[in-house]
Amino acid sequence: MPEQKVVDIDYLLKEAPRERHFITGAQAMAEAVKRANVDMAIAYPITPQSEVMHLVGDLYAQGYLKDYYRAEEEYGTMSAIAGASRAGVRVFTATSGPGLLRGIEAIASWPGHRIPAVLGVLTRVVNAPLSIQPDNIELAYLLHSGVVLLHAENQQDVFDMTLAAFAISEMVDVYIPVAVATEGFFVTHAKGYVEMTPEDMKLPPRDPYKAPVPVTDCEVPPARIQRDAPVQKSNFMSYLIHAVWQQEVWSSTQRAMKYIYKYLNGPIEVVNPDADVFVVASGCAAAQGREAVRYAQEEGLNVGLVKIKSIRPFPAQEVREALKNAKGVVIPEHNIEGWLSKEVKAAIPNSGIVVDGPRVYGGMTLPVELIMEEIYKILGIKQEKKVVI
């Protein structure tokens, strides 16, 4: 490994020179970890997985990480991540589908314990019947856990969001975990162009004393919230402590927004802001949305795209503003429930303009043609269908 020099966070994320590489989404995530001065990684290699934790294991072998081990399973992984983080080191792990659900009890406790961990989520089907394809329903389970949740469209997003996640999670006024999600296969296994910062530069190390709660070491016992658990007090105290603590966690999630503006150019990206019809999408569905905008342009239709990069905190105000003149909204999703659709509908005053779909599930491809069909319907265009299915 090259000698890495520590550079300022803002310099690395915003100004450092970048070089173009053609790599998979899994490689892009590992490349970000390589530049993030990570102390420790822990993982369980369940099937389905992505290559991410394998590649991070290679980074450990090359000397980029101080420690790496295989946990007994995801519940153990996520608990050990919490322990390591509380002891003051910078940690990373990644999982997929069923593994995420196995670990979610521990993950849901991270924000309350103020664990600034970074979690990669490479989505796969979670329900029966068994499949290992890239459905993203698992992200719905993360929406109410208190973690910051970023959703990457492509390999470049995976790199940028993962690197920024380490910076955002450790900001003193945030100090909660950041999950970076992207679709398995479509992004993790496919190659795309990624502009990367130099290999010989890394983020400053974690400063465990720049924190809203003290780290645990031989001198300092665990934070009061663990040492004096509310459950040991009266019911009334228990309600109150939990309530204020949760308020603080969710305020922290909101406070992450200013850093999402600073490091990721904001929580949304708008293409063709004056459009009549918008495709609103996150993750790799946004890539399909971009192609729909191109199709529409070729056909002389005024269609735009609102890509949502941050699912938590959800950019309700920004989405409302972007859609204020929209005649119709199409929300393509890689899950049956339409969790993004629900978020968008709740954010705008006229939710009736939102089309429920198109949705594909079980991890299948989301053809741009399905998005176009909804756009035609909104614009009252009759398409003579000749395609044989």
Partner: protein, 232 residues
């Protein structure tokens, strides 16, 4: 209104052992060599010799964002007649999802289309090219393994997306690797490697001859894109 992008969403169906995925890679690399764009999705299955194989390639002058299998192609290439006659395909019928004004290139020595197939394809305004690509591969390269090269030659001959040189660069990359310098140091290679290398060079030459010939056939037969490239 923006100028129309030249964009091909291609589905390649063949059987295991024909180099379906290899030729999809070469197609993509030829686009890349020409400074254009391509993306490739192989079908994840349990491929084996003579079992169905599918690969999908998107090729364009402009960046490609779309991911996943091509469900609605505007180009379909059938590398083996059994894809149609024996239903050796993940996609049945073989033209399912085909868009209007599309191109279908079939490797066969006999007419394998039923009247019903012909009617459907005719209604879709499809340009159908049937040619014995395996026969061509046997004649020129002496092996049916070069069938995929003939098919690539037909595709690029018809669409004129890239030049012969770009294809040659991509085929060379595939067979000799990116870094192999033929002129420097071959003398010092031991005979085993030299023999292997010589075989590879011969293979490369034969493959290129097949592509050259298929370009010529396209010209002789007057196969050109009959209509505006279809929206894909």
């Amino acid at each position: 209104m923006a100028t129309k992008t030249k964009r091909y969403n291609i589905r390649i169906a063949g059987v295991g052992g024909q180099g379906v995925v290899t030729s999809a890679h070469i197609l993509g690399n030829a686009m890349s060599a020409a400074g254009k764009y391509a993306s490739l999705v192989p079908f994840f299955g349990s491929e084996k010799r003579m079992a169905p194989v599918e690969a999908y390639v998107r090729a364009s002058d402009e960046p490609i964002y779309e991911v996943g299998e091509v469900v609605y192609p505007n180009v379909i290439m059938i590398y083996h007649p059994q894809v149609i006659t024996h239903g050796k395909s993940y996609t049945m019928p073989f033209y399912s999802g085909l868009k209007e004004n599309g191109i279908v290139i079939i490797n066969t020595d006999v007419d394998v289309l039923t009247d019903e197939d012909k009617k459907v394809l005719d209604d879709l305004n499809t340009q159908i090219v049937m040619y014995n690509a395996t026969g061509l591969a046997m004649d020129i390269a002496g092996t049916e393994l070069a069938t995929n090269m003939a098919m690539l030659g037909f595709f690029f001959g018809i669409t004129k997306l890239v030049s012969f040189e770009h294809i040659e660069q991509a085929v060379r990359e595939r067979f000799l690797g990116n870094t192999f310098v033929a002129s420097g140091g071959t003398a010092s290679l031991d005979s085993a490697i030299e023999k292997k290398f010589k075989r590879k060079v011969e293979l490369l030459e034969k493959n290129m001859q097949v592509i050259k010939k298929s370009f010529k056939i396209v010209e002789e037969q007057g196969w050109t894109e009959e209509k505006e490239p279809v929206n894909a």
